[in-house]
């Protein structure tokens, strides 16, 4: 994985949103921009967290300060957070009692980039389950621990934290707890999203379906929902649990 930082006039982005990013120094190969989650802003710098998997990410790795990139966004919808955070503040003010839910955040792979700004916006409130194959795949441990109420890493080989997937870890944690006390936020590969949806916790999951345009015109990023195909880029990437159907 690597960090990617861009300076310049950057519009405000919200948790769950993404950018389409392209490089300018080559010809038309790679052709399309690639989607990357809004990870965080530091000063006037937009940071993206990415895994080097192919053509574009390899080129990104080779970029150096001063190289130009093209960024389109922020795009897509956001993780709704009223019921867990803003509503809760309102409640305090109006002194009405309203039971607030606890954010249960599950991330797989680069999905951590998607939920990171959510965690930053809910400091010290979320239960975070995030893992990878092995200890070295679990990034940002220190920061994640700092921003969450409880950070439970999970590794397939047990080299760090829970031995199993992040969803397994969450299931274990929920054992004996009331699912209704929690609101789910999950981002990761399809298999993980399917498993997370099956936990019985209502909430939101963000799709990382492949995209061509990112703006809703190509219909390439179709995800199957109970109301037919929807566009991950424009109707999502964040969907309510139960909305997405998995094979």
């Amino acid at each position: 994985m690597g960090f990617f930082a861009a300076d310049g006039p950057l519009p405000e982005a919200n948790p769950g949103q993404f950018f389409m990013l392209g490089v300018k120094n080559c010809g038309d190969d790679p052709l399309l921009k690639r989607p990357f989650c809004y990870f965080r802003k530091r000063g006037n710098t937009l940071e993206i967290l990415y895994r080097i998997v192919g053509k574009m990410t390899s080129i990104m790795k080779g970029l150096r300060p001063g190289d130009e990139v093209e960024i389109l966004g922020p795009l897509g919808n956001v993780y709704p957070v009223e019921e867990v955070f803003f509503e809760c503040k309102k409640t305090e003010k109006t002194e009405k009692t309203k039971k607030t839910k606890n954010p249960l955040v599950i991330a797989g792979g680069t999905g951590i980039a998607s939920v990171y700004p959510l965690l930053e916006g809910l400091p010290g409130r979320a239960f975070l389950f995030y893992g990878g194959r092995s200890k070295k795949d679990v990034l940002l441990s220190r920061e994640l621990r700092a921003v969450s109420k409880k950070f439970i890493p999970a590794t397939d080989d047990g080299s760090l934290g829970f031995k199993g997937t992040s969803v397994d870890a969450a299931r274990d944690f929920l054992n004996g707890r009331a699912p209704d006390d929690f609101v789910l936020y999950a981002c990761g590969p399809n298999g993980m999203l399917k498993a997370a949806s099956a936990l019985g916790v209502q909430g939101y999951i963000a799709s990382e379906e492949k995209m061509a345009c990112g703006i809703g015109v190509c219909l390439g990023c179709a995800v199957r929902t109970k109301d037919g195909y929807k566009r991950a880029c424009k109707d999502g990437p964040v969907f309510k649990t139960g909305e997405l159907l998995f094979d």
């Binding site: 038309d28 052709l31 990023c221 195909y229």
Partner: protein
């Protein structure tokens, strides 16, 4: 009539009875029904907007993955997901007609009757143009049979032409047509007002790590700059074959110079498809690019570019 938004008459071209502010359209299926692109620029700055293909009844489209990138191109297998005629007339068309720009509907059916019913309904609804898609590589029912067989191709155009008087009738050729020349001549003979080409070319790609096809339906349509030289050649062949009707060229146009290349080869207008996925402003940039090329070359009217390739040596 006030000529809103077209101070630059130099870029004007004509497709049949339709006057376009400039030669640049959206390519069907790459700009939805207009709403999303309108968030990025004023659609009335284009020559025309060609909408996503529609059928009589809604189609849900193909399963994911529907797209994959290839070298300088992409394969898609959307499967003509569309809302169907009724919802189109009710929801999409009125929205698309809010800009001062001709709206061209793209239609496809599984029989000549379906095509004529669609065309009639669209004429009644007042669309300025109808593009017959007989070349979708992604659904067996997508009219591809009409695109590959000269007799049913001619018959289809004849049938639709009989029904439709006002809208400009555009026929979108299949790049797999056994002879671009014969199909172009047939389209003109049967009364088409214009020919558009090319649609995406059947293609496939396999992920060698998973050994699975990168498109769920295995075969999809290749578009983008990779196919441009094939598209320019077909436009050239079509334009040499017809007597008078104009050609609308497309296939990998990214820049104004790409568009000019199609026009030099014989196109009167062009459409921008895949480039819009690379950059939502692509079509608008193509308009500007044609303008500055004309400026550089001292050409006074876009219509003068059509077929203006020099030293046009026919092959021996």
């Amino acid at each position: 009539m006030v000529d809103r938004g077209n101070k630059n008459k130099k870029l004007e071209v004509r497709i049949g009875g339709l006057k376009l502010k400039n030669p640049v359209m959206t390519a069907s299926g790459t700009a939805g029904y207009g709403a999303e692109l309108a968030e990025f620029f004023d659609l009335s700055k284009l020559g025309a907007i060609v909408l996503k293909g529609i059928s009589l009844v809604p189609w849900q489209g193909n399963p994911a993955p529907r797209i994959t990138e290839t070298r300088c191109g992409m394969i898609n297998s959307i499967g003509l997901q569309n809302v169907g005629l009724d919802a189109f007339l009710r929801e999409k068309l009125p929205f698309a007609r809010q800009w001062d720009v001709p709206v061209i509907a793209n239609i496809l059916g599984t029989s000549a009757t379906e095509y004529t019913r669609l065309a009639s309904a669209l004429e009644d609804a007042g669309v300025e143009g109808i593009e017959l898609n007989v070349s979708c590589p992604n659904v067996k029912e997508g009219g591809i049979a009409f695109g590959l067989n000269l007799k049913s191709f001619a018959g289809l155009i004849r049938a639709v032409r009989k029904k439709v008087k006002n809208p400009v009738l555009i026929v979108k050729l299949s790049p797999g047509a056994p002879s671009i020349e014969e199909f172009s001549r047939a389209a003109e003979a049967e009364g088409a007002d214009a020919i558009s080409l090319i649609n995406s070319i059947p293609a496939m790609a396999i992920d060698v790590n998973t050994r699975r096809p990168l498109i769920k339906n295995v075969i999809g349509g290749l578009s983008g700059p990779a196919i441009k030289p094939i598209a320019v050649r077909m436009v050239y062949q079509a334009s040499k074959s017809v007597k008078t009707i104009p050609i609308i060229g497309m296939g990998g146009i990214i820049t104004g110079e790409d568009a000019v290349e199609f026009m030099l080869a014989g196109a009167t207008a062009v459409a921008v498809g895949t480039a819009t996925f690379m950059d939502p402003m692509a079509a608008l940039k193509v308009v500007e690019g044609i303008g500055s090329w004309m400026e550089r070359q001292g050409i006074k009217s876009a219509s003068h570019i059509t077929g203006a390739m020099l030293s046009d040596i026919r092959r021996k």
